[in-house]
């Protein structure tokens, strides 16, 4: 079974600085997708970024980018120029061709002004 591990229960970053959230996963599949979702206090789960495993190029969405290391089964999220609105719980998720999402335990991100 696939598993997703987020080893940082909580992270802090100063406003305007950069922070990296870590995620590792375990799978025997070669074709899959990885996601980062953000869950603010409202608890609405919001898609941040997505990466297809067959693509070598790291995905980027504005201030958000990933470092995808397929051989190491690592998928970290970098947030640049952090803003107060980035404060939330961040979940790393894995999806195989079976389509269900497997989530990590989450990392709470605090942004200091």
């Amino acid at each position: 079974a696939q598993t997703v591990t987020q080893s940082q229960p909580e992270m802090s970053v100063q406003e305007a600085e950069t922070v990296t959230l870590s995620c590792t996963y375990d799978t025997s599949e070669s074709d899959y997708y990885l996601f980062w979702y953000k869950q603010p206090p409202s608890r609405q789960m919001i898609l941040v970024i997505r990466q297809e495993a067959y693509k070598q190029q790291n995905a980027t969405e504005n201030r958000f980018s990933v470092n995808f290391q397929k051989a190491a089964k690592s998928f970290s999220l970098k947030i640049s120029d952090s803003q107060l609105g980035d404060a939330a719980m961040y979940f790393c998720a894995y999806r195989s061709c079976g389509n269900k999402l497997v989530f990590g335990a989450g990392t709470i991100l605090r942004v200091k002004s």
Binding site: L47, N99, K100
Partner: protein, 111 residues
């Protein structure tokens, strides 16, 4: 376009009762998935439906059931509620098997 909608927003039930949660997907999306999120944890997969057929089931007891209607909306039913069923229930929709977009969730409290 409207996002995924869920109803009700909050629900309070007592042990042994039955509950029905509802979800309307994004227009054009034919797949709906249900997740349970206990406070402080990541969401856990319950069911997935595509074109009104069950495509996946997570490790949940038979007290949990779901269905998808011709308009692609979906219901999640939970019978004989237990205290441990208290959680946020999330619905997600996707086009075919693409990226899943989540609704705001239904917060269920079982007393």
């Amino acid at each position: 376009d409207a996002g995924v909608t869920q109803s009700p927003t909050h629900l309070i039930k007592t042990r042994g009762q039955h509950v029905t949660l509802r979800c309307s997907p994004i227009s054009g999306h034919k797949s709906v998935s249900w997740y349970q999120q206990v406070l402080g944890q990541g969401p856990q997969f319950i069911f997935q439906y595509y074109e009104k057929e069950e495509r996946g089931r997570g490790n949940f007891p038979d007290r949990f059931s779901a269905r998808q209607f011709p308009n692609y909306s979906s219901e999640l039913n939970v019978n004989a509620l237990l205290l441990g069923d208290s959680a946020l229930y999330l619905c997600a929709s996707s086009h075919n098997t693409d990226t899943q977009y989540f609704g705001p969730g239904t917060r269920l409290t079982v007393l």
